[in-house]
Symmetry: C2
Subunit: 441 residues, 2 copies
């Protein structure tokens, strides 16, 4: 026998094999989420995992652009690239060559492909269009950080709705899905990109440097108000603006009562757009009322969300005991226009699928299957296989998932190993189809 | 607004966007298949889409090895490869460079990853191990042939069962899944690699050239017996062997009665191994009895199956009106040993998922969802959004999937477009939560 022991049988760095128990949990969670989203009128679509490398690198992906797995060109196309470069040499050639070696890349999120999908298929899609996407994405994260290089994203998006109906539906559908997955007492935090701009303007930051203010502010949770101030100072923002920001955030944090009071104070001070403020108020109020007290909804003036493409309300969900958000999203009204030349209102919400699964695994959560699993054990040397298969069919028709096994020498050990396979019932075949005795194990 | 009209919004060549209707059908089919397989005691696993390029290229993939999408190395690793080559030039350098540019590849089937998975995780898996895999695979087929470059495979495999229990379960589970998908009157064709060897030996072909005999025989359906003879002659096989083969196949085709009679005749003539023949007889007889006449089971002496890794029984399923098989598989007892150094009996069956979906689409098949879809239409200028959302929640609790829409200027057109979104019921919101009138559309 020829063996290839030099090739490891482990999955590639940052990639995972999923054993039955975890797949069962992942499939169950995806199924529950899909079902809830369908109840809210969303429909599932799918795009290819590979996209044009030029599309992926175009610029809405932030730091993800550095993490694209690129697909090597093939055949003549590759041959030409390599030949044209082989006569020259030097760093410039290598740089040029690198840029020409790949024609496609693995998607790093589901939003870039969704915008392409919508631009391409718009005439065959309803308006408004409400999509569900659950699929793998890939990022070439450095292995040391222990991050996954292939992971599942789970997004809903609404195209074509200008009003806060979109935000309300995304928030209600996502919180309902989380409740159905067994999560409670989570907190939906909301803000609006335009309020962040009003706030930065009120504090006196230069308008062309708002984005760097938001990036610093985004770290408030981790580095505190002093940390944010230091970072802003280090970037050369004016001392007075930094002091204004600090004072305003302290003042807001001291407002008592529900968080909407903070929104009122902020709106009063910063002369934020009235429609923006009122719409956000309505969203908070409607979602809060629908929560039935099972989860919290609050205005969070320092919530930023990393991606620069957001244009309006932004939101994320926090879960007690975990210092990362378990869902996040917002409105991005100008992204379709960048692809198709015509702006379309758009708003999306993404559940952190891997985080949800991680928490459920931490909690040793076991989804209840509809059917019980039963082992049918027979004697290979005695029993007629045709009869055994008839017995198995009979047991399936009684509602069991049936695992047929031939009797091993050590039957006690064999039976002891069944619960690990989620088997809860046992039938020892005695050659008699009319006498299938079922025991619990 | 900056636009990028130079980047097409179409999916990449050979890749597909799936719209809601097709995703619904695909998800339904995958769900039905999974459910049936679970009833037969199989459990679902998942492997990463990317594998070590060396593993993929190792040699069990036949012509698929030419069709691997390769992942470009990244960072320093890529830099080193390019630098080391840039000082040299010529065809040899290009060949060497090509072989070193990639470190991973997209899987081209689910069998190579499964064998790696089993080798790596064996100590955490039950014995026997029965897996379900439903996942995407990628092949860089040339675009002209209209083949998909990303498509779904749907496999079940059993590791650790030497007896024909494995074949019987694979065949029963797969035929049951096809029945549940609405397929009837299909035909399961069976043969055994060892019978093919006996047949080729009986005819007098040289043992070290059996594989080329099988490759020619595999084309019998397409090019007929004379075509096969010509191909064998062209490859320099002896005239007497070709004549023997021809005579034997004609003789077998003239055997009347059920196809097992052909197996008896073949066994008698070629001195095939008795255990092999009897096991195949039992498989045919058990599966035929379980079919309840809803599908056919027959011995097919010229069935070959392309892959060289099969070691025992092989099988495929044909569906009337389609000239390709809709499922195929067989026993491959020596593949795990090539990876882990220790042989493990293995047997698998794969449903041609894309073919199944294609046939269901041809037949305009619509899976029945459990929940009906209802459109709730409200007046954005009149109604309170909080009330609208309460009405929607109420309708969801009545069992509907609810699509909330604000009234458009042309409401008749708006309603006319609903059936295309699978909406069958309508509720016009009148501002009164106690009066939600539901109409059929």
């Amino acid at each position: 026998m020829s063996t290839d022991t030099q090739i490891s049988s482990a999955p590639q760095s940052g990639m995972r094999d999923f054993l039955p128990r975890e797949v069962r949990l992942r499939d169950w969670a995806a199924h529950v989420i899909t079902e809830v989203y369908e109840q809210f009128g969303f429909t599932k679509i799918e795009t290819p995992c590979l996209e044009n490398i030029a599309l992926l690198k175009r610029g809405d992906g932030g730091e993800n652009l550095q993490l694209i797995f690129e697909i090597l060109k093939r055949g003549d196309k590759l041959e030409r690239v390599l030949k044209s470069s082989s006569s020259e040499s030097g760093d410039e050639t290598i740089k040029k060559l690198k840029a020409e070696l790949a024609d496609m890349g693995l998607r790093f999120d589901l939003t870039v492909p969704l915008v392409r999908f919508y631009s391409h298929n718009q005439q065959n899609l309803p308006n408004p269009f409400k999509s569900i996407q659950i699929g793998s994405v890939w990022r070439a994260e450095s292995a040391q950080q222990g991050r996954y290089r292939q992971f599942t994203q789970c997004d809903i998006d609404i195209f074509g709705v200008k009003s806060e109906l979109a935000e309300v539906e995304l928030l209600q559908a996502t919180s309902e899905a989380l409740l159905k997955l067994g999560f409670e007492n989570f907190t939906i935090c909301l803000n609006d990109r335009r309020l962040l701009s009003s706030l930065a303007g009120y504090c006196g930051f230069a308008e062309d440097r708002f984005e760097s203010v938001f990036i610093a502010l985004d770290k408030l949770d981790k580095i505190g108000l002093d940390g944010v101030s230091r970072e802003l100072a280090g970037q050369g923002h004016s001392e007075s603006s930094i002091a204004n920001l600090k004072n305003l955030l302290v003042e807001l944090s001291e407002v008592s009562g529900p968080s909407e009071k903070q929104l009122e104070v902020l709106a009063g001070k910063t002369a934020a757009d009235t429609n923006t403020v009122e719409a956000l108020m309505r969203v908070i109020s409607i979602v809060k009322e629908a929560s039935g007290g099972k989860f919290n909804v609050q205005f969070e003036p320092s919530l930023v969300r990393g991606m620069g493409y957001y244009t309006g309300p932004i939101f994320e969900i926090k879960y007690p005991g975990y210092n990362y958000s378990i869902a996040g999203g917002g409105r991005y009204d100008r992204m379709v226009g960048k692809m198709s030349g015509r702006d379309v209102p758009a708003c999306g919400f993404s559940i952190g699928f891997e985080r949800i699964i991680g928490i459920l695994m931490d909690e040793n959560f076991e989804p209840q299957g509809v059917r019980e699993k039963l082992a049918l054990i027979f004697d290979e040397n005695r029993d007629n296989l045709a009869d055994v298969m008839k017995a198995a069919a009979n047991l399936r028709s009684q509602g069991y998932n049936v695992l047929v096994q031939s009797k091993k020498k050590d039957m006690k050990k064999q039976i002891d190993q069944l619960p690990a396979q989620a088997v809860s019932k046992l039938c020892l075949f005695k050659g008699d189809l009319n006498n299938l005795e079922i025991k619990s194990i």
